[in-house]
């Protein structure tokens, strides 16, 4: 269990692993996530299930090395074992009945938006996709997204691939071209999801985002991932992580994500000497 079977470096700090996790693979649905702990002194942190193979009993995880925990995970090699891996957690995303859906992935958010696009595509929905990154080296899953999309648009901040600009620029083009859009699914950094939400609100397009709140247990027992939606407080780990976007308090979420900024800097991940767990 939890053995890493494949590993791919998508970009210098962007990694993809395929993990043996038959119990999770059997149940996983688009929108769900896992919680991991890499070593004994490690913290628990969430990652979306980017893909799964029920027959092989594997799940795919894609992550950017942004702090100690993701660096520790990125340091594991094929054959190593993830100490703790639990899931699938959260609710599967509830897609509205729709003919045409625009799926938007920003940065590492392409990983969680891919299973959504794939599921919609397999259900006969017309998928239009937009994926964006800072530059062309950080783009990934271009072919995978192409396969499940009728049209795929690429944006980069610096113009090194596709359209120069943000995913919202590409979305605005689509809207202004008169395309009828029933639903937008946007996953990526919080400012990007907020920008997409603001844009679609203006045009009255139903929008779903997936929140990347801070989590501890991921099973609803602490409320660390709480989020204000309209007048209600919800727990992203059991009520989400996907929510209808237009009533989310994005500023509150962005603020909560900064809660441990100073503490995170103190953790020395000792990446050269990560303790590895070998399956016996």
């Amino acid at each position: 269990m939890n053995k890493i079977l494949e590993k791919k470096v998508l970009a210098p700090t962007l990694k993809q692993i395929v993990v043996n996790a038959p119990l999770i693979a059997r149940k996983a649905k688009a929108g769900q996530f896992v919680i991991l702990r890499v070593h004994e002194r490690g913290e628990r942190f969430p990652l979306t299930i980017a893909d799964y193979d029920r027959e092989k009993g594997t799940i795919t995880l894609i992550f950017q090395e942004v702090g100690a925990s993701t660096k520790l995970l990125g340091n594991l090699e094929v054959g190593d074992v993830i100490l703790d891996l639990v899931g699938p957690l959260g609710k599967a995303t509830k897609h509205p009945h729709a003919k045409r859906v625009v799926c938007i992935g920003g940065g590492v958010g392409v990983a969680p938006v891919y299973p959504e696009a794939k599921e919609l595509y397999e259900n006969g929905v017309e998928v239009i996709s937009i994926i964006g990154a800072r530059n062309k080296d950080l783009l990934f899953y271009v072919d995978e997204m192409k396969k499940v999309s009728k049209e795929l648009y690429i944006t980069t901040d610096d113009g090194s691939a596709g359209r120069k600009g943000f995913v919202t620029d590409a979305l605005k083009d689509l809207i202004l071209s008169g395309m009828e859009i029933d639903c937008v699914i946007a996953i990526g950094p919080m400012p990007m999801m907020k920008a997409v939400s603001n844009l679609t609100k203006e045009y009255g397009i139903y929008t779903i985002v997936s929140l990347n709140s801070l989590m501890v247990d991921g099973t609803g027992m602490c409320g660390g991932c709480r989020v204000t939606i309209g007048n209600e407080v919800k727990f992203a780990c059991i009520d989400g992580p996907a929510f209808e976007a237009h009533s989310i308090d994005f500023d509150e979420q962005m603020r909560r994500l900064r809660m441990y900024q100073e503490e995170e800097k103190l953790v020395d991940c000792k990446c050269g000497e990560a303790e590895k767990n070998v399956e016996n």
Partner: protein, 461 residues
């Protein structure tokens, strides 16, 4: 030493203990334990036993301590209670066994809890574990590895069933691990006590969330013939007042889980962070609130307040915990109700707006109802707030098991004596049925359910 009082419990001095997470109460030595055991008058019809939810033969185990025969004493204890080192520490004995002790009518009751703890600790040091046993009977699944699940599993294993415990966290123990702090219940003791229970032949599967990874129905499909649900009351309640999502506001569950289970007090060596302000308000006055307040103090908070809307008399926490908290300098703001959490422009907590309360007529619970005093609002300057106003049952199992009947609060409806639920072959007990209660009550429920499961499986043939 006077015979009218319990032998006092040696404790770590206050000035030292507020700087560490080591256990506060240090336990009796052999001489003190024997002397205390001799205070028991060995009643013919012992009332103390009636006060124990798992029915320990209290006079007998105490008699053996008095004789210096600790090995026989622990055997008597363990025939009824699989987790004595834990119960001796965290049971509210003043409301249970010791409340009914005859010696306690004129003098202080016999220190049953301290004696239970003494002999359990003696065993852990002096008796070698027997090694893992093998069981081969019918398969039973136990959901949750807190006090209810552990007890139920242990009892079933002793009857010869093949028991598997499913635990959502990476470590077993439930509230014993994530909730009750190290300074009250050392985690090493919990681990050892759980290991000796697992040695009865119980299999443990961590990182499995029943309701998400596997459903109750699927457990039956996998060959389990009965299921016990002991998933506890882990869903934190909030106050629903403005400002509750500001940075620096925690549920007690999150605060304690970070510190106890994830060892955030050892950050950054352990990677889970925690943010403790210089001045912290803990809202609520149960044991969880005391634990959170005393933990905040140990993490370096200079001033820690307990904010409670009723008076000292109604506080649900154990007297001993309140006493320890006061010794450690926790400040009690009673008859005080928070109405808003205040924050700065960056979204961090800066204060707690409160209103003074006075007590009116008794309500349906028999406690006098607190009523706000008009115009008495004031601000408590704090930079951290911990909400400890209770927990409800986790919704993951009821949500994924439609045929399981629940109350309007989400508790699983189960027979009080047997734990039988609306679903064939499914039993439940502990906090998920009763709402947040005590460790020993959950153990009692686990034990009763084990007996009922045994009967059910025998009748089923």
């Amino acid at each position: 030493m006077s015979r009218t009082k319990k032998h006092p419990m040696p404790c770590q001095p206050v000035e030292e203990r507020i700087k560490n997470f080591s256990e506060v109460a240090l336990g009796y030595d052999e001489q003190t334990a024997i002397a205390e055991a001799k205070r028991c008058i060995q009643c013919k019809n012992p009332r103390c036993v009636q006060g124990c939810p798992v029915g320990i033969d209290i006079p007998q185990f105490i008699q053996k301590i008095a004789e210096g025969d600790f090995e026989s004493s622990i055997e008597i204890l363990k025939s009824k209670n699989s987790l004595p080192a834990i119960c001796g520490r965290v049971c509210p004995q003043e409301d249970q066994c010791e409340k009914l002790c005859v010696v306690g009518i004129k003098n202080e009751p016999v220190a049953i809890g301290r004696l239970e703890r003494f002999v359990a600790d003696w065993e852990r040091v002096n008796v070698k574990p027997k090694g893992k046993q093998v069981t081969e009977g019918k398969k039973v699944a136990v959901v949750g590895s807190g006090p209810a699940g552990l007890t139920c599993a242990g009892e079933l294993a002793k009857m010869g069933y093949k028991v598997t415990i499913f635990e959502a966290f990476h470590q077993p123990g439930g509230v014993l691990m994530y909730g009750i702090p190290e300074f009250r219940l050392p985690k090493k003791i919990v681990e050892e006590e759980i290991n000796s229970l697992l040695d009865l032949g119980v299999e443990l599967k961590t990182n499995v969330v029943i309701g998400q990874t596997i459903t109750i129905e699927e457990l039956f499909a996998e060959g389990y013939e009965a299921v016990f649900i002991g998933s506890g009351a882990g869903l934190p309640y909030f106050l629903n007042i403005p400002g509750e999502n500001l940075n620096g506001v925690y549920s007690a569950n999150e605060f304690l889980t970070r510190v106890n289970l994830m060892r955030a007090y050892l950050h950054p060596d352990w990677h889970t962070p925690i943010k403790v302000g210089k001045k912290v308000a803990v809202v609520g006055a149960g044991n969880v609130a005391m634990d959170a307040a005393r933990t905040a103090k140990r993490l370096g908070a200079e001033e820690v307040y307990i904010v409670y809307r009723r008076s000292e008399e109604e506080m649900p926490a154990r007297e001993e915990e309140v006493h320890h908290a006061k010794e450690e300098g926790i400040i009690f703001k009673l008859l005080t109700n928070p109405v808003e959490i205040l924050g700065n422009e960056e979204g961090w907590v800066t204060g707690l707006k409160c209103i003074k309360m006075e007590l009116g007529e008794p309500d349906s619970s028999g406690r006098r109802r607190p009523i706000p005093v008009e115009g008495s609002e004031f601000q408590l300057d704090v930079d951290g707030v911990i909400i400890a106003v209770g927990q409800g049952p986790n919704p993951l199992i009821p949500r994924s098991t439609p045929s399981l009947e629940t109350s309007k609060w989400g508790n699983i409806i189960a027979d009080e004596m047997t734990g039988k639920t609306s679903m064939e072959g499914v039993f439940a007990g502990g906090d998920v049925v009763t709402g947040a209660a005590t460790v020993i009550k959950a153990m009692g429920a686990g034990k009763n359910a084990a007996i009922a499961i045994d009967q059910y499986l025998k009748n089923k043939g």
